[in-house]
C-alpha cells in the first residue's frame, strides 16, 4: 500500500559515468543494472567524491530502515527484501549457477580489472588518475587518486597473497590469462542466449554486465582485455545490448559528449565554481590570519624576552644589594 512510496526514499550514491557508461565503477554498475532489471526506483547521486557518500565509499545505498549499505550483495539483498527481485523466476538450480558464476567473476576477473585500471602504469597515469583528478573537488583531487590506488594495490596484494606484487609483465600475464579464461567460460555459458537465464535479465546478468562493460567501453592505452572481449562476439553484444535497453540516456550522452564537450564541461563547472571560489577565499583568509597570528606570537615572545632581559640585571642588582633593600622594606 504505502510501501512503494517508502521505497522511493532509498538513495544510491555511486561514481559518475563516462565513456557512455552510467558509472565507471564495477560495483556501482552492478547495482544500477540490478535496480533497472528489478524495476527498483532509486534516487541517484552520481558523484566523483567518495567522501560525500554516507559510508565514505562508493557505492552506498542510504535506506530509511537499515542505515547505509555499501557491499553490493547487501544492497541487492535489501532490494530483494523490498520485493524488487530480478531473480524471482529462477529455479533453484539457476540460483545456484548464479552464485557459482558470480564467484568465478570475483575470483578470476576482479583482480585483472583492478590491475588494468589502477596498477598498469600507463592506464593509471593516462586515464584513471586523470579521470579521478578531474572528477574530485579541488583539494581532494591531489591525493584522492593516489589513495584509491594504494588501497587497490593493497587489496590486490592480499587477494593474491603476494606482499611484493607490483606492476610487471609477469603479474600482468598471469592476471590477464585468468581473466581471459574467465571471459571464455562466461561466453561459453551464455552461448547464443540474450540473457543468462531465459528472456529476462537476472542478477547474474547484472554482475557480468558490471564486470565486462567497463572493459568494453573504457578507452585505456593498454587494452589487451578489451581486445579479447571484443573477439567474443556474444559477450560484447550482451553488454551493448543491456546498455542500449536499460541505459538509453547514456548512449545519447556519448554523442553529446563527443560533439559538445566544452558545453558539458561548463555545465559541470557551474556548481563547482562557487565552491572553488569560496574555498580559495577561505584558504587565502586562513593564510593571512595565520601569518598575522604567527608574527603576533613572535612579537609577544619578543616582548616577554625583553621584559626578562630587563629584569635579569635588576635581579642581579637585587641580589647584590639585597641587604640594603631588605632593610629598606623593613623600614
Amino acid at each position: 500500500m504505502a510501501v512503494p512510496s517508502q521505497m522511493a526514499t532509498s538513495e544510491l550514491y555511486c561514481w559518475e559515468g563516462d565513456w557512455g557508461l552510467p558509472s565507471v565503477d564495477t560495483e556501482c554498475l552492478i547495482i544500477l543494472a540490478y535496480a533497472k532489471f528489478a524495476g527498483a526506483p532509486l534516487k541517484l547521486h552520481k558523484i566523483g567524491n567518495p567522501w560525500r557518500s554516507p559510508t565514505g565509499s562508493l557505492p552506498a545505498l542510504k535506506t530509511s530502515e537499515n542505515g547505509s549499505l555499501s557491499r553490493p550483495s547487501d544492497i541487492i539483498i535489501h532490494l530483494r527484501k523490498q520485493k524488487y527481485n530480478a531473480d524471482f523466476d529462477l529455479s533453484a538450480k539457476e540460483g545456484a549457477d548464479t552464485l557459482a558464476f558470480i564467484s568465478l567473476l570475483e575470483e578470476k576477473l576482479m583482480p585483472a580489472l583492478v590491475y588494468t585500471r589502477w596498477i598498469d602504469p600507463k592506464n593509471y597515469v593516462e586515464v584513471t588518475r586523470r579521470w579521478h583528478a578531474e572528477h574530485a573537488p579541488f583539494p581532494l583531487n591531489f591525493f584522492l587518486p593516489g589513495s584509491i590506488q594504494r588501497q587497490q594495490l593493497q587489496r590486490l596484494r592480499l587477494v593474491r597473497g603476494d606482499e611484493e606484487l607490483t606492476a610487471g609483465e609477469e603479474v600482468e600475464k598471469e592476471l590477464y590469462r585468468d581473466a581471459m579464461e574467465c571471459m571464455n567460460l562466461i561466453s561459453q555459458r551464455l552461448g547464443s542466449n540474450k540473457f543468462f537465464f531465459g528472456d529476462s535479465p537476472s542478477s547474474l546478468d547484472a554482475f557480468v554486465f558490471g564486470y565486462l562493460v567497463p572493459i568494453l567501453k573504457m578507452k585505456l592505452p593498454n587494452g589487451r582485455l578489451q581486445q579479447h572481449l571484443k573477439s567474443l562476439d556474444n559477450l560484447s553484444h550482451f553488454c551493448s545490448n543491456i546498455l542500449a535497453l536499460y541505459f538509453p540516456s547514456e548512449g545519447r550522452g556519448i554523442s553529446r559528449k563527443v560533439s559538445s564537450q566544452p558545453e558539458g564541461g561548463d555545465a559541470d563547472n557551474e556548481p563547482g565554481k562557487r565552491r572553488k571560489q569560496l574555498l580559495s577565499v577561505l584558504v587565502a583568509l586562513g593564510a593571512m590570519l595565520s601569518y598575522a597570528f604567527l608574527t603576533g606570537i613572535v612579537a609577544i615572545q619578543h616582548v616577554q624576552q625583553e621584559a626578562l632581559d630587563h629584569r635579569s640585571p635588576g635581579l642581579r642588582s637585587l641580589s647584590s644589594h639585597g641587604e640594603e633593600e631588605d632593610g629598606e622594606e623593613e623600614g
Partner: protein, 273 residues
Amino acid sequence: MSLAAEAFVSQIAAAEPWPENATLYQPLREDQILLSDCASSLAVQAYLRMCNLPVHVSCRSNAEYMSPSGKVPFVHVGNQVVSELGPIVQFTKAKGHSLSDGLDDVQRAEMKAYMELVNNMLLTAELYIQWCDDTTATEISRPRYSSPYSWPLNQILAYQKQWEVRRKMNAIGWAGKSLEQVYEDVSQCCQALSQRLGTQPYFFNKQPTELDALVFGHLFTILTTRLTSDELGEKIKSYSNLLAFCRRIEQSYFEDSQAGSSSRGYSKGPSLF
C-alpha cells in the same frame, strides 16, 4: 609459480610418466594442520585417487614454508614441485591424466564456476572461522598452528598469520561480517552445491571431476573436524544428498584402498559413518 616456470613444467611434465614415489606434503596431521589446509589437502588427495595416481603423504611441520606458493598442500613429483589443486590439475593434465575431458564447453564453464564458488565461499568461511572468530582462534587455531615451535616464535608466527588473514578479510569485505552471517553464507553455498548435485552420483553425472574432489575435501573435513561449535557441520548435515555424496566418495576412493597404503588416516577425525 611463474609463467615461465609453468610453461617449462608442463613441457617436462608431458615427457615423463607419473612416478611411483610422488609425495604430497602437508602440515602435521595430529597437532598442527588447520581445517582449511586439511580440506585443501584432502581435496588434492581425492583428486589424485580419482585419477588413479599414487601419492605418498608426508607430514612436515614446515610444509607451508617448503611450498613454492606458501600454501599447502604441494606435491613433489619427479623433480617438480607443484602446489594447490588448480595447478596440480593442470600438471596432471599435461601428463595425460584428466577427469574433465568428457565435459562439453558449458559443463566445463560450470565446473570452473562451482570450483570458484567453493574457494570463494567455503574456503573463505573456513579461514574466517579459524582466524577471525576469537574463541576458535584462541582455543584451536593459534595453539595448533604454532605447535611445532617454542615460546617466543610460536606467538609471533601465530599472530602474524592471524593478522595476515584478517587483513585479507578486510580487503575482500568480510571483516564486517558477523559469525552468523558467515554461517549463513556457508549454508547458501551448500544449498547451491546441493541443488547442482541433485540426485546424480557426481556433479557431472557418472564420472567424478576435480569439482567433486574439491567439494569432497571441504565438506568431509568440515564434517569430521571438531571445532568450538558444531554449527558449521550442522549446516552441511541438513543436505542429505551432500552427505550421501561424501559417503560415496569416501567409500569408492578411500575405504577400499588397503591399510598400509600411504594415506591411511587421511582425516584425523572419525570417519563419517
